[in-house]
Amino acid sequence: MTKEKRQIFVFLIFALVLLTIPFLLRESYLLNVLVFIGIHTMLAVALNLLLGYAGQISLGHAAFFGIGAYMSGILTTRFALDPWLVIILAALSAAAIAFIIGFPILKLKGHYLAMATLGFGIIFYIIFNETVGWTGGPSGLSGIPNLQIGGIIFDNDICNYYLVWIITIAVMLLSINLSQSRIGRALRAVHDSEVAARVMGINAWVLKVQIFTISAFISAIAGSLYAHTMTFVSPTSFGFNFSVELVTMVVVGGLGSIYGSFLGAAILTVLPEFLRVFEDFDIIIYGLMLILINMFMPGGLISGFQLLAQKVALKIKGK
Amino acid sequence: MLKIKNVNTYYGQVHALKNVSLHMSAGEIVTLIGANGAGKTTLLNSLSGIVPPRGGEILFQDVPITNLAPHKIVKMGISQVPEGRQIFKPLSVEDNLELGAYLYHRAKAEKERTKKTADMIYELFPILKERRKQLAGTLSGGELQMLSIGRALMARPRLLLLDEPSMGLAPIVAQEIFQVIENLSRESETTILLVEQNARAALKMAHRGYVLETGRLILEGMAADLLENKEVQRAYLGKDKKEIWER
């Protein structure tokens, strides 16, 4: 099997497994968790394009998630616009904001970039809280309609599951394609050595803004889906802590790996559910995971899995 | 006093020093010459502990110092005047000198001697005394070089490593610096290892010399002999085309 065929094969299996889960598992609690994993995967993939591929950190990505969610919430509840149209509008406006803010922000490097994106995220968090007339302020915005297509209303677990996961799988596929193209190489080149990338004719600044914009676009779609499946949004979901949680997902899963983002999203979504027994332990464990993985496993958990898979493959071949 | 045995040093993956061996006796001026990129600075940095060698041994007064941290090597009595001076520009001239004596900062008893050393340095370089309250960043190239030498001397080293003290200086200023180095060796009995691009000036002043080419020592001998040696010129300016054809 060539490398390319093997990749297609792995992806098909991955997609197939995810799409058959609801047939095997009817429990609504678990499906709900999986819906969250899907939304988080989308966000982690979006952030990974920026952080893992282009090497540019954002500590404000929850803002784009929030922009998507609130745009969907506000435009459907107050203006009764068609939800599908609104998703596109929301994604486009998040992208537009990212594009405009991206030019000055992505001139900054390293720690300064981190702080600027953080500031940007907090400003939006404050806006979500304070524009009470639009967002409902801290008490949130409820009554967001479910999506529907034809006669199907996406108001139950299985419908939501498919809604979220079909889009998530599509986002993953497109991101994998992108990462293996000339654009993906250019992104990784900027990550490894910006000066060499520029000498090779890559306009690093514009490229970073472009990927920031795309990342915001995907994050906003995730936000819209979140709003329509939960039918309720409040600012706490879009604060600094969530931005950090997104970074944690990407790092724990593996920088520069799309499957890693899925893994990271899955672990960080499931973990709090498990840790419910030991209430409040989750935050300290996030911190520890960030530190330990960063120190001892810079490739993230997915690199461990890959190593394992290689060893198994070698064993099988050896026999 | 100093023995370097088969030292091998790497910069990342670059093999910068290959089996270099060298020795010095107390009171000597030894110069290390060679073209750019030959590994002269690397050798000094290996001695100072900044780029520790991966193989070989360095003995200073019969004590191995091969893998000591830079600040410990200074304590052993080896000070380096680094390439490009590397003066602390946001600090005053006086503060730079004071930091030169950092290793004595805990010993009250040394205070007197440190002050004496400072006076000696101000005598050596009167211009530094004039400017001692000025920020080092405002000094000229030659003054910075003097300050850099002065700072290294504050540690009262037994072995002074000088890395291209004439670099980027006008010839007349360079000569002045060389004069000081010569006086220093004569008067204070400091042993000096001098890395220079200006091979003639260095060889004139030194007792012995080593020629380094792409990480290897290719020649050693009395300075006066090296001065006459055609090989030395070749090491700087390359082989004739003819020689290359013959190779």
Partner: protein, 291 residues
């Protein structure tokens, strides 16, 4: 007019705190090039520890403060030793993530130990307002101003007139040259973390009686401190103080005359504007290209 006076006072005292926290950022940044995202947690630790010793253990004020600062300093040293030193030459992105990880960890530990409640630390010298020239002022404000001035004064003394302070500046400017004059650079880095933790925790202690304290106050206070140091410029100690005071005043006036809800946004809007248009800060010097 009364209001304006009140805003100015609040602004200045908050600003003094921001300046102190910003100081902590600058000290570590100058010594290592790292922006320590866990800086705010030292501030939180200061407040919570003081609360713990003073209220729960019933210790007198002075020993409580000293103990709190000591413990926070030790945490700073451990953090440097375990998380920063092993990653000496890592790319900024890893260092950012590691300090964020540490910040979450410290915050989580504080929550486990002291719970999620918000507490008030008793004011150092009671709550009776003083009347000075017809204006009222809380004694705690005086404490804040006094401590800030003291810290600024003594750190100037330390960095400009002691050999260790000068050695730290030398390290910040050129670590290799510093090691060549016999300075142990690793000790200096560790020292920068401990001083920064000490100043941060002190800031947390003196502000706690006015603003209450809980396990999560560190995030916002830390970020404000960062804003202060960016406004003033990383390279300038006095700039950081000015930056902090300016930020505190603008915030207080904005909160008073525009809207209390947007108070925090003001800091971050200023932060972005400065980063975009004058990244060296209002009072800092532009870094020239290196040869």
């Amino acid at each position: 007019m009364d209001n304006l006076y009140q805003y100015l006072l609040t602004g200045l005292s908050n600003g003094a705190i921001y300046a102190l926290i910003g100081f902590g950022f600058a000290i570590i940044h100058n010594a290592t090039g790292i922006i320590n995202f866990a800086q705010g947690e030292f501030v939180m630790l200061g407040g919570m520890l003081a609360l713990f010793f003073l209220v729960f253990c019933g210790f007198p004020l002075a020993p409580s403060i000293i103990l709190s600062i000591l413990i926070a300093t030790v945490v700073g040293i451990i953090f440097e030793r375990l998380a920063i030193r092993p990653l000496k030459n890592a790319k900024p992105i890893r260092l950012i993530i590691i300090t964020i990880g540490a910040s979450i960890f410290i915050r989580g530990a504080a929550m486990l130990i002291w719970g999620k409640d918000t507490h008030a630390l008793p004011a150092f010298s009671g709550n009776d307002p003083l009347y000075i020239a017809g204006a009222t002022i809380m004694p705690q404000h005086l404490w804040i101003f006094a401590v800030t001035i003291l810290v600024i004064f003594s750190s100037r003394l330390f960095f400009n007139h002691t050999i260790i302070g000068k050695a730290m500046r030398a390290c910040a400017y050129n670590a290799q040259a510093a090691s060549l004059v016999g300075i142990d650079v690793r000790i200096m880095v560790m020292l920068s973390f401990s001083i920064s933790a000490a100043i941060g925790s002190l800031a947390g202690i003196i502000i706690a009686p006015l603003t209450m304290t809980s396990y999560d106050v560190g995030i916002m206070l830390g970020l404000k401190g960062f804003c202060a140091v960016i406004i003033g410029g990383m390279s300038s100690g006095l700039g950081t103080v000015m930056g902090g005071l300016l930020l505190g005043l603008l915030e207080a006036l904005g909160a008073g005359f525009i809207s209390a809800g947007y108070k925090d946004a003001i800091a971050f809007i200023i932060l972005l504007l400065i980063l975009f248009f004058r990244p060296e800060g209002l009072f800092g010097k532009k870094e020239t290209e290196r040869v």
